[in-house]
């Protein structure tokens, strides 16, 4: 690998590591790199956290493209219901129904709902959980903590391969003759329990559960590893309060995942029992397909509790890593310490804690006792406080900065804009009285897409552009990155901003078409506009993918060890670090992670010892 061919004189950081570093005799034991003896265990069954990070990222990108293309198909249906979709017949096959007289091709209703369901499942779990948290937790936890690798590289490898298996199962379910699962990504029973009620609830649902169970195994293996690594493998001097906010975010995210994902599996398990073994956890008094079922005494609301006990923390599992990445990128690229580091950490902790006691705000109108909802309203709206603190801190981080505009920093700024826009609409929905009207309308669609869909993507893009040099030793093309940014931020607002108005007018989500209702059919033009905006925005993502893969092989080479002038440890490794990350000793940490512009110096890396009489940055 390229670790040896750069023979530049030792940088200041390398010298510091050599004198102050901690010798763990890693290279005495590992003969160069025993894990990487051949192609298969270097690139396929790799135990190197950096390779695993790339595996998560690229798998996530493939899924993101599939999920996005699904959304384009159902957006075509919503924007242009009168247009023929016969041209999609070669791809979608029997799901495009051709009228033999007119030749008009229409999207099957079942498949429309399958697309909606798969789009949600793929984006929430495969892209924004595995692709985002999986990528950057893997890449940055060992690098920024000064660790050789994860606590258990083997479990880490398993974590990816469980995700891979989960992906295969889900992919396979797309090709079933009865169609993939089509009852919404939340998979509420009885619809998800009864094949009589929906064709996708047969084999499609079985595979969906199997896939997500494998996925949870992946998340848990990864999460245990992240937590153990953060707690045990921090290098000398890396106290918790010296960790970059990225690590805080990944650490807390892993804890949330570890506590909430098993509850989802228990919910799925009971659902499997109801589906296959005749139990009645969720089913009661059902007459379907001309037949009264024997199930009595179950409650579909129980499933909703179990689901949202994961489902709500899940949105923080998605957004916290993005927040961590954005905090780091904003600080590095504006050449300023992140404002209110401790407040940022406490906000993350507060959000994580609150995320466990707000789940029923998804269920205000689902028949739970309205009295119970009082508590959930209170806790839900309290989340606005730490969220607001974070936004103010990001904005203040820009204040007085010397901002370097590149794709990374621009996506980080875009993230803050999206998080504000989407977060504020949460204040409407979290208030149960308003939620009576807005629940399950396009207002909700606009809200969560902006705040946890687009915002999380922006955080992810910021992270990719910022750490691509670390991953591949090359830069992504900046111009294309900026075009990507402007196309995406304008496009994303163009898609989701109008949905607020549609939602305020009461139009429900998950409708195949709107012309059945006069109240809902007044937005034809807007729906066309949204669809066109979605197609254009998608094309900018294709640009990103092209840039990504082009840059892996042809991008501008990184020639300096620390191209962004960052303080954190990952930039003290060789430009293309091998397995084990540091060639000689491990770096030891002398200060917090945000000494930018301090005492007249542009930045001071974490390995630099405190000067005589220097006051620590976070005590300033």
């Amino acid at each position: 690998m390229a670790t040896v061919d750069i023979k530049s004189p030792k940088t200041q950081e390398e010298q510091l590591i050599e004198t102050l570093g901690f010798d763990d005799h890693f290279h005495d034991h590992h003969e160069g790199d025993k894990y990487r003896s051949n192609f298969i265990n270097t690139y396929v069954f790799s135990m190197d956290h950096k390779i695993i990070a790339k595996q998560f990222l690229i798998t996530g990108m493939i899924w993101a493209l599939i999920g996005a293309m699904m959304s384009l198909v159902f957006r075509l249906q919503l924007g242009f219901p009168e247009e023929s979709m016969a041209w999609l017949k070669p791809v979608l096959g029997k799901w495009i129904i051709i009228n033999p007289e007119t030749g008009m091709g229409t999207l099957s209703q079942d498949f429309y709902y399958a697309l909606v369901t798969m789009h949600g499942t793929i984006l929430v779990f495969f892209v924004l959980t595995a692709g985002l948290s999986g990528t950057f937790s893997n890449l940055l936890i060992p690098l920024q903590l000064g660790a050789r690798d994860m606590a258990s590289p083997f479990l880490n490898m398993l974590s990816y391969w469980f995700f891979f298996m989960s992906s295969l199962v889900m992919m396979y379910s797309l090709f079933l003759s009865t169609g993939p699962f089509s009852g919404g990504w939340t998979a509420y029973p009885p619809l998800s329990a009864l094949p009589q009620a929906s064709s996708g609830s047969g084999t499609g649902m079985t595979l969906w559960i199997l896939s997500l169970t494998l996925f949870v195994v992946s998340v848990l293996l990864g999460g245990i590893n992240y937590i153990t690594t953060v707690l045990n493998l921090r290098t000398k001097g890396m106290s918790l309060w010296r960790m970059p906010l990225t690590i805080w975010a990944f650490f807390v995210t892993a804890i949330i995942g570890l506590l909430s994902f098993p509850v989802l599996v228990s919910g799925f398990l009971l659902l499997m029992f109801d589906r296959g073994m005749g139990t009645s956890f969720y089913l009661s008094e059902i007459f379907v397909g001309g037949q009264a079922l024997d199930h009595v005494g179950g409650s579909p609301i129980l499933y909703q509790h179990l689901f949202w006990f994961l489902g709500h923390p899940e949105v923080y599992i998605i957004i916290l890593p993005a927040m961590g990445l954005v905090s780091e990128v904003l600080s590095v690229q504006s050449r300023k310490p992140i404002f209110g580091y401790k407040a940022m950490v406490f906000s993350i902790l507060a959000i994580a804690f609150l995320s466990f006691i707000v789940w029923a705000h998804h269920m205000f109108m689902s028949g739970v006792n309205p009295f119970i909802s009082n508590f959930f309203v209170v806790f839900t709206l309290i989340i606005a406080v730490p969220s607001a603190v974070k936004v103010f801190n990001w904005i203040t981080t820009l204040y007085g900065g010397n901002i370097r505009f590149n794709a990374a920093s621009m996506f980080a700024i875009g993230f803050v804009s999206m998080f504000i826009s989407g977060g504020l609409t949460g204040i409407f929905l979290g208030n149960s009285a308003i939620d009576i009207q807005q629940h399950d309308t396009y207002f909700v669609v606009a809200h969560f897409h902006i705040v946890m869909g687009i915002a999380a993507f922006f955080g992810m893009f910021a992270g990719i552009y910022n750490w691509f040099p670390k991953m591949y030793g090359r830069f992504m093309n900046e111009t294309l990155g900026k075009i990507h940014f402007w196309g995406t931020i304008i496009g994303a607002y163009a898609i989701f901003w109008p949905m607020h108005y549609i939602g305020m007018a009461g139009v429900p989500r998950r409708y195949y078409k709107f012309d059945t209702f006069t109240s809902f059919s007044q937005f034809d033009d807007m729906n066309k506009f949204i669809t066109i905006a979605a197609i254009i925005t998608f094309s900018f993502q294709v640009l990103f993918v092209v840039n990504f893969f082009y840059s892996i092989w042809k991008g501008k080479k990184v020639t300096t060890q620390n191209p962004w002038g960052a303080t954190t440890l990952e930039w003290t490794t060789p430009i293309r670090p091998g397995h084990g990350n540091w060639e000689g000793k491990l770096p030891t940490v002398q200060r917090w992670a945000y000494d930018y512009g301090k005492d007249g110096k542009e930045f001071v890396t974490q390995v630099t010892p405190m000067a005589e009489g220097e006051v620590s940055g976070d005590d300033h």
Partner: protein
Amino acid sequence: MTFLLVLLSLILIVIITIQIGKVTELAAKIRGEEEMQESVNKRQGVYMMVFMIAFLLLSAWSAYKYKFHYLGYGPWKASSAHGQQIDTMFDLTLVITGIVFVITQILLFYYAWRYSGRRSGKALFFPHNTNLEIVWTAIPAVVMAFLVIKGLDAWNEIMADVDPKEDYLEVEATGFQFAWALRYPGADGQLGEKNYKMINGSNPLGQNWLDEKNVDDFHADELVLPVGKKVRVRITSKDVLHNFYLPHFRVKMDAIPGIPTYFVFTPTVTTDSMRMRLKQYPEYNVPADPNDPESKLKWEVFDYELACAELCGNSHFAMRKTVRIVDEVEYMQWQAKQKSYYLSNVRWTEDDPNKDKLFGSEIEERKEQFQEALDTALTTGKKTVQFNYVTFATGSDKLTGVSRYELDNLVNAMKENKALRIALNGHTDDVGDPAGNLTLSQKRATAVYNYLKSKGVATERLSSQGYGQTQPVVPNDSDENRAKNRRTEFRVVAQ
């Protein structure tokens, strides 16, 4: 061919974009990284400002353009009492979040532009400021507390169930794949019991016909409600989750199999007044069908609607029912026209478990019929009254259970009118052996005689006689006519 062309142009676009990217990298090499970065910072900083201004202006423009979709404004005012509270909460939150939105977006992009990097520039070392942080933690906390208190105040009032003592109308909505079934309680004001196991072709909701509260319940094709009256909708589901959603009334609640839910609301605007309200807006004075300029105007065809708002399967989007809010008088007229589902669809069919008894309304109705027939007999020359509802088990003289209601009417009449004396006559059709028919008719007349006697009618006021097939009222030439000839009747002998 088209495919190839599309593929070619895609490849071309990719190549072009990569070249654009390359050009700037080359420029950077020529001009030097730092100088290049500075001009990039300057330019992108300006773009940020331009974006912010355009974004805020477009937000304002769209907010104005779509003003009629704001809750509580213009045509989109709630048509229910509690809905106005929701609208107020929405607007209040909109004002507060709107202010925060504008301020934070301006600061974000303004700072991005204002502090875009200079080569000579130095960033401020400003890691934290306790006072600032306290202020901006406290302000959201106070605002949230305010919104929570107002919100919960409204919520608990809206979601409160009815007090059984107050005056309200209860209707039931049942969701199923893929429609809503609406059930009204009928005159008794109470919905009858149901059980999903009893659902069948003639009993779509599984009503228990043994529960008398079901007898007058009627099903409706549209949700008709009187204005100003408190309505409690009982919401149930037959199969999967549905959601009872009335957008104009700010009503929404899941329908859950096995767990009935409810929503209480009071409609405040009739369909007609809503149409009048919409008529004021030019947007509603256009043809409802854009392709047909002759069609009715939008406000003229306006109807409130009931929808489903919980994904329930592949036709989730099609569960529409019209909702009509009318004044009290019109509601009473409409209600009077509705027919009990049980009486008109199930009564006397093989699915009816109540064949041996009559219900209040039927008893009343038959009493009137009988009284009318008797009055005719007493006042005109036609002295014979036929029992319409006295029946026997086939081939026997055993009175069926329901026969007693008509005979009791006769008993009562004879108790009131002490002078009344009657002769009971039995008749058959011409099927079978004439002698046997004669005996049977005699026996049946006697059975009636015995019943009346058992109810305390003095035997000297009664006589009984069988005539077999000898006195048909119509020729025995069809099944219908033969049925008419099989009868038991009485003749007024003295009054």
